[in-house]
C-alpha cells in the first residue's frame, strides 16, 4: 500500500527569491496523526494548499496515496478529506444539502450520503442543525460542519489546517473532542496547528518546519525524550533567600534561574529524573520549604522554541 502523504523536494516560490516552502521532504505513515508545527509564515498552510491543489507547485512533488497531486488531482483527492483555512459554505444551503452536493461529487449515492450525513453530524454534535441554512451559523458551527464534510465520504487521509483557529475556548474544546474521536479510528490525519498543547495532546507524530524547511519529524514521545533541558517551577513557603539562590545558580545542571515572586522561582535544568530528585533534596538542604516542584510549560513547546531559535 502506498504511503498516504509523500512530499518530495516540495517548493513554492513566489518570486523575488521568497520561497514559502523550500525543498520540503516528508513521508507520513499510514494511520498516524501528525501535527504540522511552525511559526507564522513557516509554510504550513502553503504546504497544505499545495497538497490539496489550491496552489500550484513550483517544483518537487506531492503525492496523496501514491498519486501525483499536480498530474492527476482528481484521483489524488478522491480519498482525501480536507479542511483548509476556515472554509466558507454556500450560505443558502443546509448541511444536508451541502453533504449531498459534495458527497455526489465524490461518488457517494444518495443513500450513503443520508446515512453518513447523520453519523458525521452526530460526531460533530450538529444533528439539530441539519436542515438550517449554513449562512446563519457561527464560525464554530461552520468549523464543525467543515470537519463533518471532510469525513462524510470516509476518506483514508484527512488534512486539517489549524482546525481550532479563530474559535472561542468552548469551540476549541469541542473541535478537539472530535479530533480525539478521529484518533481512535484508523484515519491518517495531517494537521497543522499553532496550539502546542493541542498537538502534544492529540498527535502521535510531529513535523516542525520553519522558513519552509523541515526541522524535525518524529513521534511526540521520541521528540520529548530528546529534550535535555527542562523548565522547573518551584514554590516555597518562606521567602526567597539571596544566598540560597546563589547556591542554586551554581548547582550542576542549573542553566538559568528566574525569581518570579518572593516565594516562586523558575529554573532551566539539564538532567534526568535522578538528577531532578537530587536537585529537590539540594533545594531543601538550602533551607527552602518546598511547597511545589514541577515542570513548567510544555515539553514540546521548549523543543519547538529551541528548534525555531536555532533555525533563524
Amino acid at each position: 500500500m502506498q504511503e498516504p502523504i509523500v512530499l518530495e523536494n516540495l517548493t513554492k516560490d513566489y518570486g523575488n527569491s521568497f520561497k514559502a516552502v523550500d525543498v520540503l521532504n516528508l513521508n507520513v505513515k499510514r494511520n498516524s496523526f501528525v501535527g504540522f508545527l511552525g511559526p507564522n509564515g513557516a509554510g504550513k498552510t502553503t504546504t497544505i494548499k499545495m497538497l490539496t491543489n489550491l496552489l500550484t507547485i513550483t517544483s518537487g512533488k506531492a503525492y496523496l496515496n501514491g498519486v501525483d497531486v499536480s498530474a492527476d488531482p482528481k484521483n489524488a483527492l478522491s480519498d482525501i478529506g480536507a479542511v483548509v483555512e476556515t472554509p466558507e459554505f454556500y450560505p443558502f444551503l443546509t448541511p444536508v444539502e451541502t453533504f449531498e452536493y459534495l458527497g455526489s461529487l465524490r461518488g457517494m449515492s444518495k443513500e450513503e450520503v443520508r446515512k453518513r450525513g447523520k453519523e458525521v453530524l452526530e460526531l460533530v454534535k450538529m444533528t439539530e442543525w441539519s436542515t438550517t441554512r449554513i449562512g446563519k451559523f457561527s464560525k464554530g458551527m461552520k468549523q464543525r460542519i467543515a470537519l463533518a464534510q471532510a469525513l462524510i465520504h470516509e476518506p483514508s487521509v484527512i488534512i486539517l489546517d489549524e482546525p481550532t483557529s479563530g474559535l472561542d475556548p468552548r469551540g476549541m474544546v469541542e473541535v478537539r473532542e472530535v479530533l480525539l474521536e478521529l484518533k481512535k479510528r484508523d484515519y491518517t490525519v495531517f494537521m497543522s496547528s499553532h496550539q502546542l498543547n493541542e498537538v502534544q495532546e492529540i498527535c502521535s507524530e510531529v513535523a516542525m518546519i520553519d522558513h519552509g524547511r523541515l526541522l524535525a519529524y518524529d513521534s511526540v514521545t521520541s521528540l520529548i525524550s530528546k529534550i535535555e533541558s527542562k523548565r522547573l517551577e518551584v514554590r516555597i513557603a518562606n521567602q526567597v533567600i539571596g544566598g540560597a539562590m546563589d547556591s542554586v545558580r551554581g548547582y550542576a545542571g542549573v542553566e538559568l534561574l528566574n525569581v518570579l515572586t518572593p516565594s516562586t522561582f523558575q529554573l532551566d535544568f539539564k538532567g534526568g529524573e535522578e538528577e531532578q530528585a537530587q536537585l529537590l533534596l539540594f533545594l531543601q538542604s538550602q533551607g527552602l520549604k518546598i511547597v511545589s516542584f514541577k515542570e513548567s510549560g510544555l515539553a514540546l513547546e521548549n523543543l519547538y522554541m529551541n528548534l525555531i531559535k536555532s533555525s533563524r
Binding site: K49, T52, N53, L54, L55, T56, P73, K74, N75, A76, L77, S78, D79, I80, A82, V84, E85, T86, P87, E88, F89, Y90, F92, L93, E97, Y101, L102, S104, L105, R106, G107, M108, R133, A146, Q149, H153, E154, P155, S156, I159, R185, D186, Y187
Partner: protein, 281 residues
C-alpha cells in the same frame, strides 16, 4: 473503526451535470433567479399592457408585433441583466467568498467546475429567453393570428447573443478580484461601454464596429425587419459645420461569427485564467 471505501469519483460529464444542478439550486435559494423572473415579468407586462393603457392598438403585423419583444431595449437588456447576475461573479465569488476552500480540494477538475457553472448560467438565461419568446409568440398568435419564421431567427440570434454575453461575464469573473466589481463591470461593459464605443467609432467615426458584441447583438432586433435594413448616413449642419452620422447595420453572418468568436475565445480564456488562479489569502 473507519474503513476507507476508496470510491471512484463520477465521470467528468456526470460531475458537470451535478455542478450545474447545484449551481441552479443555489441561485434558486439566493433569489437571484426569482429576481430575473420578476424583471422579465415586469418587462413582459409593460410590453403587453402599455399599448391598451395608452389607448393604442397592437401592431397587427406579426413581425411588427414581435419587434417589440426583439429589441435592444427589451430582450437584449434582459440578457445583459441575466449575464450580470449569473455569470458576472460565477468564478470570482468562489475566491472572494472563500467557498473555493470547500469545493476545490474535492476530486473535481476546475474545467469541470467551469463547465458546470457555465451550463447552469446558460440554462437559466436561455430559459428566460425561451420564456420571453414563448410569451411573445403565443401572444402574437392570439393578437395577430400568426408568427413568422423571422421570430425563430431572432430567438436563435438571441440565444447566441446570450451565450456570448455569458462568455463576457465569465471572463470578467475570472479576471477580477472582487464580486461587486465584476458584476458592475459586466453590466457596464455590455450595457453602456460597448454601445458608447460603437456609437463613437461607428456613428461618428465612420468605422463599422463589426467586431463589437453589442453591435452584433443588434441583429436580434434587425432580423425582424423586412427587408433587412441597410447601412446609411446623413449629414447635418451643426455649429456651421457639416457632420456626417453613420447608421451601420450588422451583417447577420458576420454577427454570428463574431458572437461565436466571443463565446469560444472568452470561454477558453476564462478556463485558462480559472485553472491558473490560486487560492491565496
Amino acid at each position: 473503526m473507519a474503513t476507507s471505501l476508496k470510491r471512484s469519483p463520477p465521470s467528468d460529464m456526470k460531475q458537470v451535470m451535478l455542478v450545474a444542478r447545484y449551481d441552479i439550486y443555489k441561485h434558486l435559494r439566493s433569489r437571484r433567479l426569482l429576481g430575473l423572473l420578476v424583471i422579465e415579468t415586469l418587462l413582459l407586462v409593460l410590453i403587453l399592457a402599455l399599448p391598451p393603457l395608452l389607448g393604442h392598438q397592437y401592431n397587427k403585423d406579426p413581425d411588427g408585433y414581435m419587434s417589440s419583444f426583439a429589441s435592444a431595449n427589451t430582450i437584449n437588456l434582459l440578457i445583459i441583466i441575466g449575464a450580470t447576475l449569473f455569470a458576472g461573479d460565477a468564478i470570482v465569488s468562489e475566491y472572494q467568498n472563500r467557498t473555493g476552500y470547500l469545493i476545490f480540494p474535492n476530486p473535481v477538475k476546475k474545467s469541470v467546475l467551469f463547465a458546470g457553472k457555465l451550463l447552469a448560467s446558460v440554462i437559466i438565461i436561455d430559459g428566460a429567453v425561451l420564456i420571453w419568446y414563448g410569451v411573445g409568440m403565443l401572444s402574437g398568435v392570439a393578437i395577430t393570428g400568426s408568427v413568422t419564421i423571422l421570430a425563430v431567427y431572432s430567438l436563435l440570434l438571441a440565444l447566441l447573443y446570450s451565450i456570448a454575453c455569458i462568455g463576457v461575464g465569465f471572463f470578467l469573473s475570472a479576471l477580477m478580484k472582487g464580486s461587486t466589481g465584476a458584476l458592475v463591470f459586466t453590466f457596464a461593459l455590455l450595457f453602456l461601454i460597448l454601445p458608447i464605443v460603437d456609437f463613437t467609432v461607428g456613428a461618428i467615426g465612420g468605422v463599422k464596429p463589426e467586431i463589437s458584441l453589442a453591435f452584433a447583438g443588434g441583429t436580434v432586433g434587425d432580423v425582424m425587419q423586412t427587408p433587412y435594413p441597410v447601412d446609411s448616413n446623413h449629414t447635418q449642419h451643426i455649429g456651421g459645420q457639416n457632420l456626417t452620422l453613420y447608421s451601420w447595420i450588422p451583417n447577420v453572418t458576420t454577427s454570428i461569427i463574431v458572437m461565436l468568436g466571443y463565446s469560444a475565445a472568452l470561454g477558453a480564456l476564462t478556463l485558462v485564467l480559472f485553472k491558473r488562479r490560486e487560492m491565496v489569502g
